[in-house]
């Protein structure tokens, strides 16, 4: 800004104008002033770090059995206790987070890329292309997503890879809808027309002119979806359709601790707490992002 002001050659007065461009910078400022969102962001970053740095935090491998310490309540040696096979719950929660979070994040990545391409094509080209794609999306959205998930997993076999694909694919219609709506508004901006006059290809216009300008709703929707994806990954593993034993995936751990809930609560409570915190942080962060990125909600 100051640079432009000092060097202003013609017209000399620099206006602080253009809401949309200003929005991005002030979005971060708004987010930083939101203590809950910032706490959630810090919490989520710490969680990710803990999961990535698991081998440094706890020296015990997640599947190492210690038959001298079965069903032991939290102690200094095992801060989260041990399960019925003598495995350290803290290591299992941290290592399990790698599975749960990786699957959720990758599933959302699949949904964003798929949904963005489908939504861009549908909204940008319009006409029968749009009608066809949106009818298919309508059908998929009308179909109960949990049923869709279950049938995909049942068809491909229960493991985390299948869950990733099923989650990602079943979230594509929602992302497509969102992107298409934003594209419908964005494709009529004059700078898009300007790019057409320059002779730009459709792909160039979609990815360099339209896409960067529809990111805010996409980011918000992705964080909401991430919370969901974490829950569903754990949920499918809990009912045995996701990670298989001895994987320390959080949902699978919950299920494993189910039989000892009365005598060894720590086996289920710590992974449950991990799921709870991860989803809470993501949801609070997405609330904060929505407030920051949507100028209409800003006071």
């Amino acid at each position: 800004m100051t640079n432009a002001r000092q060097a202003g050659v013609a017209g000399s007065q620099v206006q602080p104008a253009a809401k949309r461009a200003r929005q991005r910078r002030s979005a971060w400022r708004t987010l930083r002033r939101n203590p809950i969102a910032m706490a959630a962001l810090v919490g989520f970053v710490l969680l990710i770090l803990a999961v990535i740095l698991a081998p440094l935090i706890t020296p015990i491998p997640p599947n190492a059995h210690d038959y001298d310490h079965l069903l032991e309540p939290p102690t200094w040696a095992h801060p989260f206790g041990t399960d019925d096979l003598g495995r350290d719950i803290l290591s299992r929660v941290l290592w399990g987070g790698r599975e749960s979070l990786r699957v959720a994040v990758m599933a959302i990545a699949v949904a964003i890329s798929g949904g963005t391409v489908v939504g861009l094509v549908s909204g940008y080209f319009g006409g029968w292309v749009d009608a066809l794609i949106m009818r298919i999306v309508d059908v998929l959205l009308a179909f109960p997503s949990i049923l869709l998930l279950l049938s995909i997993v049942a068809a491909l076999g229960p493991n985390l890879g299948t869950v990733l694909i099923a989650l990602g694919v079943s979230a594509i219609p929602g992302f497509s809808r969102l992107v298409r709506g934003s594209v419908l508004a964005a494709k009529n901006y004059e700078y898009v027309t300007a790019a057409r006059v320059l002779g730009a290809s459709d792909a160039y216009i979609m990815f360099t002119q339209i896409l960067p300008n529809i990111m805010p709703p996409l980011i918000i929707y992705a964080t909401v979806g991430l919370g969901n994806a974490i829950l569903i990954t754990a949920g499918l593993s809990y009912i045995g359709l996701g990670a298989q034993p001895p994987s320390p995936e959080w949902g699978a751990m919950l299920n494993a601790g189910r039989t000892h809930l009365r005598d060894a609560w720590w086996i289920s409570v710590f992974p449950g707490l991990a799921i709870f915190l991860a989803v809470l942080f993501v949801n609070l962060l997405s609330d904060g992002l929505r407030d920051a990125l949507d100028p209409k909600l800003r006071q």
């Binding site: 432009a4 013609a10 017209g11 206006q15 253009a18 901006y189 002779g199 730009a200 300008n213």
Partner: protein, 341 residues
């Protein structure tokens, strides 16, 4: 600033057509369909452009004036193939643009550019000034790497901007500076023909003159041909060699600048010019204004006969019946009116 002359004393207006035709528009029509009801039934058309014919000579500035809704912007956009025409042809150096597609169309686009009305809307807020000006070079692969940066700096300098500002975003510039960026982008591919779609209407009055002067000096430097769309009659008089007046999707009068402003023939042109204030209180007080009754009719249901007859002070029997022929009443002076002898 120093590269732009503040006045245009050196410019000699060309009187009459210099002969070499760059662009021919032949009976161009653009209708936008109107759909209603549950089944989106086609119930009519907005006749934005309803059969217009004119030539643009190489190196001239053809002014296109008219009220809002007269279809002047649609003319510019249809010429550049942003809209497919409903009927008619646009010939650029004798080549029908409608027949081009793919590579040939992309090549043709390099030679025809556009400057938009609102420099706040026409620049992508997520791209820097440098990236905006570089975009045409990259799209058409005419430069790469260092070359792009050099050419961008050159272009920014050309339009009177400091090349050091290439990394600033559009919102860091004033409206006049933004319009200069848009002009630099339009000139990046060295076009021959530029549609200026109300390029100064969104600017402060103090900036308008600067931008018009810039456009004129660039025209002289690069032998550009302009289609200058505007509703500001005094600005059009200043910049144009010839002027076309549009009303309800049709050209009602086209002639060289001086004869249009001194002896307009069409009653609409006369009324339009009578609305221009004169910066002399004595004359201004006695100025005779022709006030047209009513509003511009809807282009969905244009009146039968001459489109202007419901508001025309001279309207007579033939005007209600048939649309007047667009004819050359004097050499180079075209009018569509039954009452002009």
């Amino acid at each position: 600033m120093s590269t732009i002359p503040t006045s245009r004393l050196g410019h000699q207006p060309r009187n009459g057509p210099p002969g070499d035709i760059l662009l021919q528009v032949e009976d161009l029509k653009k209708y936008f369909p109107v759909h209603r009801g549950l089944f989106r039934r086609h119930v009519g058309d907005v006749r934005a452009v309803d059969g217009i014919t004119f030539d643009v000579y190489r190196g001239e500035t053809l002014g296109l004036v008219g009220e809002s809704g007269s279809g002047k912007t649609t003319v510019g956009r249809t010429i550049l193939r942003l809209y497919p025409p409903t009927a008619g042809r646009v010939l650029f150096e004798g080549i029908d643009l409608q027949t081009l597609s793919g590579k040939a169309l992309r090549r043709a686009r390099r030679r025809m550019q556009m400057i938009f009305q609102d420099p706040y809307a026409s620049l992508n807020p997520r791209m820097t000034a440098g990236a905006i000006v570089a975009a045409p070079l990259i799209i058409h692969r005419v430069a790469r790497g260092r070359e792009v940066q050099e050419r961008v700096a050159e272009l920014l300098q050309l339009v009177g901007l400091n090349p050091g500002l290439a990394n600033c975003y559009p919102h860091e510039f004033s409206s006049g500076q933004r319009q200069r960026i848009a002009i630099a982008r339009a000139l990046a591919l060295s076009p021959e023909f530029v549609v200026c779609d109300e390029p100064i209407a969104a600017l402060d009055v103090s900036i308008q003159a600067q931008v018009v002067n810039l456009l004129q000096s660039l025209q002289e430097q690069f032998a550009l041909t302009y289609l200058f769309i505007a509703h500001d009659l005094s600005m059009v008089r200043h910049i144009s060699d010839r002027v076309a007046v549009m009303y309800l999707g049709k050209i009602v009068e086209l002639t060289d600048r001086d004869s249009l402003y001194t002896s307009p023939l069409h009653p609409y042109t006369q009324a339009l010019l009578s609305a221009v204030p004169i910066p002399d209180p004595a004359i201004e007080r006695n100025r005779e204004r022709i006030i047209l009754p009513g509003e511009t009719p809807s282009p969905v249901h244009p009146p039968p006969g001459c489109g202007f007859h419901p508001r025309c002070p001279l309207a007579d029997a033939p005007c209600f019946e048939a649309a007047p022929e667009y004819r050359e009443v004097q050499p180079g002076h075209w009018v569509a009116c039954h009452r002009v002898p």
